[in-house]
Symmetry: C2
Subunit: 117 residues, 2 copies
């Protein structure tokens, strides 16, 4: 069972392109706050706030061992939201199938509304 | 290419268990506001607000034809967030593989730290 509050927190944490970019960077390996701030046109305190939101949502962990406290990606919540979205796959695939059927009919009987043969 | 603002809006819309429950209901078929409010312990204006958020995010469409304006699920943004999360599958699968390797080693060499044979 997925915890609904946890799911809400994950979705809220992902509702920011900067936070998603931080996760994309961490997927390539650990990084500290300065390294994460580098590519973005934002201040260090702003990056720190984004990191705290991601940390609370369980999307990143911070090492206690080193003084510069590198951040690492924890993919577990991403796996949960992937599983959540996958529930709806039959809905979007049904829509695609209907469109595909329609295009097939259109190709085999072009403009049946004009030519009633 | 996925529009980053649109993705942020989808994630923000999904950061509510009530809104996710509305989508789950609509996956079973169209429903109007009264039908959607039924199972929830919230007022009609609150449900209407949730519906507006989902509509702005493109997750539901409302029919103009009928006076009671039924809501229908549009799964397209769900397919987008599924594809977005799937990018991270290699990260969570790598973690699972490491854990699986560890458990295999543990089974073949139990408590190697205690017994150095």
């Amino acid at each position: 069972m997925i915890d609904e509050d946890r799911l809400s927190e994950t979705f809220a944490a992902l509702a920011s392109s900067t936070r998603r970019a931080i996760l994309a960077r961490l997927a390539r390996g650990e990084a500290n706050v300065n390294e994460l701030a580098g590519p973005f046109d934002v201040t260090l305190p702003t990056i720190s706030k984004h990191i705290k939101v991601l940390e609370r949502a369980g999307l990143i962990t911070r090492s206690q061992r080193a003084q510069y406290r590198p951040c690492a990606l924890d993919p577990a919540p991403l796996e949960e939201i992937s599983a959540w979205a996958e529930q709806y796959r039959p809905v979007w695939e049904a829509r695609f199938d209907r469109m595909s059927d329609y295009l097939t009919r259109l190709r085999s009987h072009p403009r049946t509304d004009d030519h009633d043969d």
